[in-house]
Amino acid sequence: MTEVWELSAAELGRMIARKETSARDVVDVHLSRIEALDDSVNAFLTLTPDLARATADDVDQRIAAGEQLGPLAGVPLALKDILCVDGVRTTAGSKILEGYVPPYDSTVVRKLRAAGVPIVGKANLDEFAMGSSTENSAYGPSRNPWDLARVPGGSSGGSAAAVSAGFAPLGIGTDTGGSIRQPASLCGVVGVKPTYGLVSRYGLLAFASSLDQVGPFARTVEDAALLLEAIAGHDRMDATSIPEEVPPYVKGLESGVKGLRIGVVSDWVEGEGVQPGVTERVRAAIESLSSLGAEIGEISLPSFRYALSAYYLIAPAECSSNLARYDGVRWGLRAPEAKDVVEMNVRSRTAGFGDEVKRRIMLGTYALSAGYYDAYYGKAQQVRTLVIRDFEKAYERFDVLLGPTSPTTAFKIGEKADDPLAMYLNDVFTIPSNLAGAAAISLPCGLAEDGLPVGLQLLGPPMSEGLLFKVAYAYEQARGPVDAPPLWGRS
């Protein structure tokens, strides 16, 4: 018998709307599964059962009263603990925010509330979203439901692990350099990095403002599309928000890929450091799309070689400024007994931030310093322009680009923890989309030789989410159901 927690969000939403089950029961089932298994996964930093049940009860009452609610009403969700929920502690995975309780809702949370989506908890992450494994969380790493000795990826590893583990059919993450797509790939779920400006950043604790974007996790393409519809849209509280209507993504899902031009990024598929099992699964996915009628070609994107370096100047530069507000004056941790304000700032920040965050603050401070700005930050912005141009040229020839999401499957906890550069290479295929402010999606394309999930990445120009969902959906249908992680055998 299929368990309630195995069902897709779309299915659960339909059942709740038809009163075949109640939102309250759905929430309770997920909460008990979390209670039973999250000790071994550590997907959540804070559980919010009261909030989730209150939302569910409200949904049930409104449905009983005959109201027509949205398709996700009553469907549980894991929220990355970097988005503010009024009255719920928010840590960003950092000690420096210990005890911080925001006095307001992020726009995404406001929209989730409006959609009747119960938030079951705040999910673990690398501190301030800086990392690719959740090992940088001040509250311990999350574990991959496919192999508890391995990382779920990061930085949105908690959300990805929660969706993969059946703790919630939906998750919210943020993607600054791959932080949704890479953990989606490593955990065998769907993750979407929307166009910059499509989803409001208001209430998202900033890492790198020009790159950060909120996006959905789900186990199916349809669920991801439904969730993006619910959270996207113009927000007057975010000046970088795109003032356009959100098209209905789900409506166009089934229109197929016949005649669509798909460009395979050749440097990625066969690239240095790409695990053979990853290449093999991506090649199989290309075959599948080809047989569905897509026109497949190959493309090389030379500027992308510099994208990683540019990213590791721009993102730290912005973070060095964004994180300046954590100074012990108003929020979270304040070092006691300091003799003056400067010492209080220094000691609070020294005690509150982890190594990776400090490393990036230092990198960024240096890159913005007088005399170095042009050589580092300025040059990185020029690379960014080149990346955008290379993408534009590529989209003259192709509708969609394709490659792996991550060079490897999930690695062992501790394996790369002491080698920041090896860790940074996890993001080499995901970063270009962030630099270009463009859309991309990662979806499972089978298991590699090591029995771990591989992610297929589809990339499109800004505002191409509808197109990406369509291609992803066509592939997903052709692929058929994926294997479930071993954790599904436990309850």
Partner: protein
Amino acid sequence: MGAIVSTYEAVIGLEVHVELATHSKMFCDSPTTFGAEPNTQTCPVCLGEPGSLPVPNRRAIEYLMLIGLALDCRIAPHSLFHRKNYFYPDMPKNYQISQYDLPLCVEGYLDVEVDGAERRIGITRAHMEEDTGKSLHVGTTGRIAEAKYSLIDYNRAGIPLVEVVSEPDIRSALEAQRYLTELRAILQTLGVSDVRMEEGSMRCDANVSLRAPGTEAFGTKVEIKNLNSIRSVSRALTYEIDRQQKALDGGDGIVQETRHFDENTGKTHSLRSKEEAFDYRYFPEPDLVPIEAGDDWIAEVRALMPELPRARRARIASEHDLTPEQAAFVAASPSSVQYFEALLASGTAARDAAVWMAGELSRALNGAGESIENARFSAADLAALIAAVKEGTVTLSSAKKAFQDAYTAGKTPLQIVDERGLHQVSDDGAIATIVDEVLSANEAEVARFRAGEEKVFKFLVGQVMKATKGQASPQVVDRVLRARLGNS
């Protein structure tokens, strides 16, 4: 002094910070009310709560544009907000959103009159930034070093500021004063700021250096901070120019530094020296998009431009045949013009109106520390008083006294005249009685007058006026007194 002045030429540039009078803050919709309870005019955005984002106040940008247009600046079609990064406890985000190398307004000028000659002061730029919070250090002295603890009021955090930076075209303290007075009048006329220095809505920093006249190269410059009134700017510059002259003459040279002006001593003194220059690590504010000022938007804002002070002064002077000084006073602000026009509408002659405004009204306002828009009684009340003087029912000196007392008491001048019986006494009989009293009380002086000491007459007139509290008609007193002294 004269010899030394001719040895050097002062080179002065001013940076003026003006708080805009928008209803809401620069990047959020928190109100800007002055003097509210601490931390009541705040929201997540101006508190810099984690996750909050700035959204620019369109009205504030239009105010800046209006200032730029009034100063004949070029409005940049593409300008940017930058982040200025530095740690300061009352700055919520530890960076200030400001403008850096792409300000909205550039390359303008302001013409000012100094000693009858016109001087054109270049405007380098006018840009926009947000204000910080305010620290209150609780302890015996109110200074941070001795404080037991500090409190922060974020009401001011995020209030829009415009910074107007002049070229180093100013050559004396007087020119600086004229420049600031004219700039303030323009800002007042535009209605974009309260420009009240005592509330901190206009602040000024001055850069000053000296050089030999005729040379192009600048001398070493000193920045003076904490200039909270036009008078302070003038005093500080006068002191600083003198100090630099002496230092140069003494062969000491000038140290490039920031100096603080002390209101009490009138001196500038070196702030504790910074070991290194600040590096603000400016970079484009990624939470905001560029300001794209298209021709349509600029034209829309230009259409809001009121008559500027210079044009207003010229018009008022020629329309009412006033001296330039009178016109300058009457046309100082839109409110003073309104007051003037209301006086004329109530039948006061232009010259009388100007004289009263520049004299008694100005004295009363200065005494109360108020400005003309909240003058305690209407122009019609003053007009009635002026009319009473003209008709001879109140003497000028009684009228002036009634005016000042009325201002303090919050009544109309004529009410005071009635209450205190200040009507002019022209009745010969009543005055004769008082004259007789004065003469009998001052027999010695009467004798001296009769001995030919004519100046004693004035003293006796004074005694009569004193006895009548200034209400007696001077002509009648003169006539009666002469008659009495001649007769006896």
